[in-house]
Symmetry: C2
Subunit: 312 residues, 2 copies
């Protein structure tokens, strides 16, 4: 049983890497650039080299290493296969553990990056102490990760937990990034909140601080905190959509806790006051007592979760 | 490793019991009455006695027995605890394996009856050969069971898979059995189909064979097969709700296959023609290829699944 694990979070611009002990303390973390040339074929060799260099630097032998966990964008199944490629990296479909093992022969596990981040929050973040958890990331889009009995729910082809694409609204005319209409992401992401705010501002001439400067999710929640009536309505709509969407998630997977992260969650606890009452209104009674918490690891959730993957 | 397992499906009127070999062949099956007096405290002792009698009859020793699986109505968690009691049986909360072990000391596993039925369909029914499956039972209500990597998804307190209580319609004024409004069950159960049909018939005077005799889910699908225009509209509405609901289930758990059972499914393959196109319209693209099949085990799904529980 090795004393150390590496957690790797592959993003479109940089790869974050962390060195952890088994208890989840981060001993070192750093970044390397993501080289996307040649269909991203040098990304994993670069990661392997960087880890080998770090092991030399720290005097860590291969026998001290439990393994390497990798989080990557795109659908990744339970065996670490990139199922439909990863457009952001130029990747086609292949098996991550085998590709990495060609350069460094230690146990490797891989998962979708949002799922890895969910596992990270369970291990050392907002979901610590729970083993049935749903992580929701409110950023440019809405991402999700579902943890069942301490393990990531990947589904048949790595597409489980796509909470942002739950269908919410039959009347929607705008198209979502996924090409459907009326997805949760269109109302509960940072982009979605801006869209809701702009529609509300266009509806009439009600005064609002949102009419000054650029409309952003942050501006909306800042205005909410200042008691702005229009912003409160927008936050109410956001909360209705997210609360109702998460109610359906709970009715299906019955988690102990929801952990809300991503840029929008920086608004703080006030965010939950718009979501939780709507959740409780729509959820199946047996799931009404689920807890809600904010994510705690920020951009490091991915490396934590990737490392945790290896510890099984 | 024992050669035999017993599967027990506890219903409100009778307890079904089956004797299986490890390969899933049913060697014998029978029923005993469910005695609900005294808060149902004699149900499990009766089950134990019936199994002991059967073992004597067949010359099966305790060493030949792998164990007993039990399906029961109500929420049952992963450890076999009845979480909130089981109203239909008069049961309060307790641990099924321990209660049964007081009378017969072999390994016991327990699950919610709908979840057990799902596992049965995966083992020997419509979902044979798959390990990521969602079973949907269209009866008086809409039940569900979610199988992930061959195991039942129970959730934090045994309430996962309550597909019938996904929120579908903000405009609904009628109340569901769960006290919410707009649950899938209000449109996709046998009762729900009758409700949709009655509302449609009251809307205008369009001719329909449904105006003769009693309206039932069977009558609706019989009329559909005869080309009745009003019945086709009702089936279309049913399909829209069920397809859209299952699309959201897939976007969350990404199964390989949906297996549709219960009384309504006796309509046959034609049922799926109303559901699948709606499913494909609303589901996240990565989950679009899920298969649909009809359940095959009927009322025996519960004993199959209960037996399968023990084989782990």
């Amino acid at each position: 049983m090795g004393k150390y694990v590496f957690g790797v979070d592959i993003g479109g611009t940089t790869v974050k890497i962390g060195l952890f002990d088994r208890e989840g303390c981060v001993l070192d973390k750093w970044e390397i650039p993501t080289v996307k040339d040649n269909e991203g074929t040098s990304i994993l060799p670069d990661v392997a080299q960087s880890i080998i260099d770090k092991m030399k630097e720290k005097g860590i032998g291969q026998e001290d290493l439990e393994g390497i966990g990798v989080g990557a964008p795109g659908a990744v199944d339970g065996d670490g296969n990139v199922v439909n490629g990863a457009v952001n990296l130029g990747w086609k479909s292949f098996n991550i553990p085998k590709a990495l093992n060609a350069y460094i022969d230690v146990p490797v596990k891989a998962a979708n990056d949002a799922n890895a981040a969910a596992l990270g929050e369970m291990w050392q973040g907002g979901g610590k102490g729970y083993s049935n958890m749903v992580a929701v990331t409110l950023g440019t889009g809405v991402g999700g990760g579902i943890i069942v009995d301490g393990n990531i729910l990947t589904g048949a082809c790595g597409a489980a937990g796509e909470i942002g694409h739950i269908h919410m609204n039959d009347e929607e005319t705008d198209v979502c990034g996924c090409k459907n209409r009326g997805c949760l992401e269109q109302y509960a992401s940072a982009t979605g909140i801006v869209r809701l705010a702009k529609m509300r501002l266009e509806k009439d001439d009600d005064p609002s601080v949102l009419r000054e400067g650029e409309v952003s999710a942050k501006a909306v929640f800042d205005a909410v905190k200042a008691g702005d009536k229009v912003a409160l309505e927008v936050a109410g709509q956001f909360g209705m959509y997210l609360g109702k969407g998460l109610a359906n998630v709970a009715t299906i997977v019955n988690p102990e806790i929801f952990v809300i992260g991503g840029g929008v969650s920086k608004a703080g606890e006030i965010l939950l006051t718009f979501v939780v009452p709507e959740y409780q209104k729509y959820v199946f009674s047996g799931c009404r007592d689920a807890k809600f918490a904010l994510a705690e690891l920020g951009n490091d959730a991915g490396i934590y979760g990737a490392a945790r993957l290896v510890l099984g």
